[in-house]
């Protein structure tokens, strides 16, 4: 299914959601927050996976925009630069930042997110993971590797009734790449334009 932002509440029980939004200013984070927001009670905790954007920027966006009871307890930060955990948590929030140093090491990233999902499940909470962004990941690994990661992370989330939102900037990829990632995801929220009907089945 493909919906606009306003239709995100109709995602229902889908597990993997591709969010198409241009990476201009904060629009892409905005779109991810808006999708998670509209899922309301389905999610207890939100876990952003930040790649090019600093965690504190993501967290402050979340605090500003989110209107639900969902809590933001953990952030998985993927970056090989020397941003420290203390710096990442400087916004004064109680959010734990877990680091993955190598953005090409999707095995470690997958395991880290999987651990977060499992811990939340053990506590009786369901998690909405926001991978921000898939466009950044594809800058570090090739498309087939990113595709396998998307599918596998979705399967891990499915086991614990979680959900994963993958942001993709459609202007940064050719149509074929965007279409390939549409196929691997259960639902698509197209925030790059107005609401429109199903695309490509």
């Amino acid at each position: 299914m493909t919906v606009g932002i306003r239709g995100a509440a109709d995602i229902g029980d889908e597990t993997t959601v591709l969010v198409l939004a241009p990476d201009v200013g904060k629009r892409s984070v905005d779109a991810c927050v808006a999708v998670l927001d509209r899922l309301g009670d389905r999610i207890d905790r939100v876990v952003p996976v930040t790649i090019s954007l600093a965690p504190e920027e993501w967290l402050s966006m979340w605090e500003r925009e989110s209107t639900t009871e969902q809590t933001l307890a953990t952030c998985v930060d993927v970056d090989r630069t020397t941003r420290s955990v203390a710096e990442a948590g400087a916004a004064g929030s109680a959010v734990t930042v877990e680091r993955v140093d190598d953005p090409t090491d999707l095995e470690t990233l997958g395991r880290r997110v999987s651990d977060v999902l499992q811990r939340a499940d053990d506590a009786g909470d369901s998690v909405g993971v926001a991978v921000h962004s898939l466009t950044d990941l594809v800058r570090h690994v090739d498309e087939p590797t990113a595709f396998k990661f998307v599918y596998t992370l979705g399967e891990v989330a499915r086991r614990v009734d979680g959900l994963v939102v993958f942001h993709l900037d459609p202007t940064a990829h050719d149509d074929e790449t965007v279409e390939t990632f549409r196929i691997v995801c259960d639902a698509v929220v197209d925030a790059s334009r107005g609401r429109r009907g199903p695309v490509g089945g």
Binding site: E107, G110, K148, F149, Y151, T152, R159, I183, V184
Partner: protein, 229 residues
């Protein structure tokens, strides 16, 4: 250890541990390589209950036995005098992907390796059989996932190009079937090992897009560690 294996072989019962039906029914191709023909054949006999097995009693024979059909390679740590690293590197760098298991004399014996292997296990037949099942399942998952990507890529190319609806419908049906098969396989893989299964060692530490950057202190082949279970 050798006496223990022979004793268990006579007993026979330990060679048939209870396995999930989906694991037991799946067939795979394994190469068992060890310097001791009797012990190697004994392991091969155990593994033939679940799949097709080739045996190799030397490094050269192992190299000759490899092809794209092989799912799992079982290499004894004492197959060659000295380090087995060059041999493992040779296996790992073949153009086809397979799961590599190193067997050691005892279950807790450490083996120093620079090459990434998928698991290290003692020679005890029950443990080896379980390890091979697990690795074969990972091999199937990776293979199916790669097929799934190929189908998705074809479908995407067709969708953005000339839209042949009949071909799109056909690909959609194939994608659905593949997805169902993958869902079942991933159910059987634990969350700890599903990412190992999904990504080949090259993909796990892919440096091709960032060749000018230092990818990892552990080197391009990644760390060697026992399978996490």
């Amino acid at each position: 250890m050798g006496d223990e294996i022979e004793g268990r072989e006579r007993d026979g019962s330990l060679y048939l541990p209870s396995l999930p039906p989906d694991m037991a029914s799946a067939r795979h191709l394994v190469v068992v390589a060890g310097a001791e023909p009797a012990a190697t054949d004994a392991l091969a006999t155990v593994l033939r209950d679940d799949g097709t097995v080739r045996t190799a009693y030397s490094a050269d024979a192992l190299r000759e036995s490899l092809d794209a059909e092989v799912d799992v390679v079982l290499v004894d740590s004492e197959l060659v005098d000295g380090s087995i690293d060059p041999l493992l590197t040779d296996v790992r760098t073949r153009e086809f992907d397979c799961q590599i298991c190193v067997t050691t004399p005892g279950p807790d014996d450490a083996v120093a390796l620079d090459t990434h292997v998928d698991t290290v296990v003692g020679r005890e037949p029950d443990a080896v059989r379980q390890a091979v099942h697990r690795l074969a399942m990972r091999a199937r998952y990776r293979e199916r996932l790669e097929e799934f990507y190929d189908l998705a890529e074809r479908r995407a190319a067709l969708a953005v190009g000339e839209r042949d609806q009949a071909a799109l419908d056909r690909l959609d049906r194939q994608l659905d079937r593949h997805r169902r098969g993958l869902d079942d396989l991933s159910e059987d893989l634990g969350a700890d090992s599903v990412f190992d299964a999904a990504l080949s060692p090259d993909e796990r530490t892919l440096a091709s897009r960032t060749a000018d950057e230092d990818t990892s202190a552990e080197g391009p082949s990644g760390p060697t560690s026992p399978d996490d279970e």
